[in-house]
Point group: C2
Chain length 342, copies 2
């Protein structure tokens, strides 16, 4: 079971007939150790291929120099971009990234959190699963002094650190664009009712229309469970109405893909009979002819990076008052931006 022994400072000490403390200090170039001794230690260390045993150090220091990242999945472009941001930032601090995908399964999420906890990660960055409705397991971590920074999919709680993206700015830009282009019947495909993100989109949509004095038509708002079938259904519902919308804002890019496919199937020409605006920004859009006229960019890389930055500021801050680390600076909201595709 036990793995082979690797060279330790003891070994070096024995060979040089000095004490382990001398070796330890020499290796850290402590000024109190004589030049020659220091040199000899380094030389032997080199020769026998000594590497400090981090597990021992971590154990002693009660730190792991590892941050846990828990997110729904890596297949979505959004999250793989986010983790790049996280990893890049963590690398600058010589931290490692322990990865877990919840796959939007609350049970899996809980299990992963559990292993992260027992592995004593120094902190966590979390984007919660779609179906999570209780946050007890996150509270748990607080007891163990493991700070969490949530990003993008954040729980509805007060005292948390988070990074998110404000959809309003981008969505209003998009609405204005559509209205300027003469669209008056603008549809909205939101996600499942229980998702905050769905409610948000709906509210901003309504607000935006009001600002421009456009009469709200409840029939132009439909929701989808986000499966392919439901996306198709939602689109069909919108587009086969008597007074069909000439533009549709979709919950995200994956919905947009299905919606565009469905619109084509219904014989409509994209960007002529009907055009789309979508949240997030698949890098692949530029290769597609039938694409939304605009995306609402939510900066996944930037979000990941910022979340990590916040996590480190908490980690490096006073541990003494770690009950209340959630200051305004630890709650960051980026503004989304509309990006034109044509």
């Amino acid at each position: 079971m036990q793995r082979e022994k690797l060279p330790t400072i003891k070994e070096i000490a024995k060979r040089l007939k000095v004490s382990t403390s001398t070796v330890s200090r020499a290796l850290h170039n402590h000024p109190s150790i004589g030049y020659t001794t220091t040199m000899r230690v380094h030389k032997i260390a080199q020769e026998i291929g000594y590497e400090p045993n981090k597990t021992a150090i971590l154990f002693k220091q009660r730190k792991t120099f590892t941050i846990g990242v828990l997110l729904p999945n890596l297949s979505e472009d959004f999250f793989s971009a986010a983790i790049s941001g996280i990893e890049d930032f963590a690398a600058t601090k010589n931290y490692n990234v322990l990865l877990g995908q919840s796959l939007d399964d609350p049970e899996r999420e809980k299990r992963i959190l559990e292993t992260m906890k027992t592995h004593r990660v120094d902190g966590m960055i979390v984007s919660i699963s779609k179906n999570t409705d209780n946050y007890e397991h996150f509270e748990q971590l607080k007891k163990y002094h493991i700070p969490i920074v949530f990003f993008d999919r954040i729980p509805e709680k007060e005292a948390i650190n988070y990074v998110a993206c404000n959809l309003e700015s981008g969505m209003l830009q998009a609405l204005n664009l559509l209205i300027e282009q003469g669209h008056t019947r603008i549809g909205l495909i939101t996600g499942p009712e229980q998702l905050i993100a769905s409610a948000q989109r709906r509210e901003i949509y309504i607000k935006g229309l009001q600002e421009k004095n456009i009469q709200l038509d409840e029939k132009l708002i439909v929701s989808s469970g986000l499966s392919k079938e439901e996306n198709h259904k939602a689109t069909k519902k919108l587009l086969s109405a008597k007074k069909r919308p000439t533009a549709i804002i979709t919950f995200n890019d994956y919905v947009a893909l299905d919606a565009i496919a469905e619109a084509k199937k219904l014989g409509l020409t994209i960007n002529k009979d009907v055009c789309f605006v979508s949240f997030a920004n698949l890098p692949i859009w530029e290769y597609m002819d039938s694409r939304p006229i605009a995306s609402i960019e939510q900066f996944p890389y930037k979000q990941g990076e910022k979340a990590t930055e916040i996590l480190f500021s908490v980690l490096e801050g006073d541990d003494s008052m770690d009950e209340e680390t959630e200051t305004p600076e630890n709650q960051v909201i980026f503004d989304s931006e509309m990006r034109l595709h044509f």
Copy 2:
């Protein structure tokens, strides 16, 4: 610097006025400990929220229950699928996944390997960077008894564990399909010369044509540095020749995207004037009208999963003879398969 102290078995021992060993055994439900004692220990442990300190255990056991994963990037769909396979399998063994992206930068690759080593991961799964030409840093790990399983992008060495995908089966299927459909002038866009993958594709291409008695035209083989510009250039070179090919096999999906865009720009109709076959299989193809007629599927998820399985078989195997763990079973090659898109 030091983090707050968490409950330990000492604490429990003190409260119950028993020895730490009793507590330790009770927590493991050791049969030698009396029922009441065991119960009392569990109760207190529960109350004060005791969690075994894994870092201490790992330190003692010289194991970390963590595998390191080093791959070029997570933006490519191929790798994010692969890591899902890895993570899923690792989870079944209660192992964690430490992640590192080389971004195809050999220096970064080296650094990541270094941190993985000092963090004493139990094993590694690696897909090497595009530009790596020396494998010393991998040899290093062997000294520290950290087994490596390579996948997909594997070094040209004998004694290694690996999982890869044999392109031949899929590519021959694709060639045959094209030939059956009447294509005789079939172009090939390979990658940079120094990549093994490029040579492979070239060889199989030539072999496939020979088998069907089709005269090889060297002009139909071009290589690209895989940047967007080079992809466009390579495509242009093929398609603007006097006797242009009616079908093109591209190095991968990203090349295909650029090639298709370029073909359109040249006024050609995809799948009529010219059609494409590509390696890998972007899930998004189905949403695109202008897509390759077929993909050569390389099963990233399966590769990741299998690589992890092999890693565990090595980890669980005899440590005694760890010089030569590379047995035939540890060198797995999947057959690629052609998948039609229409």
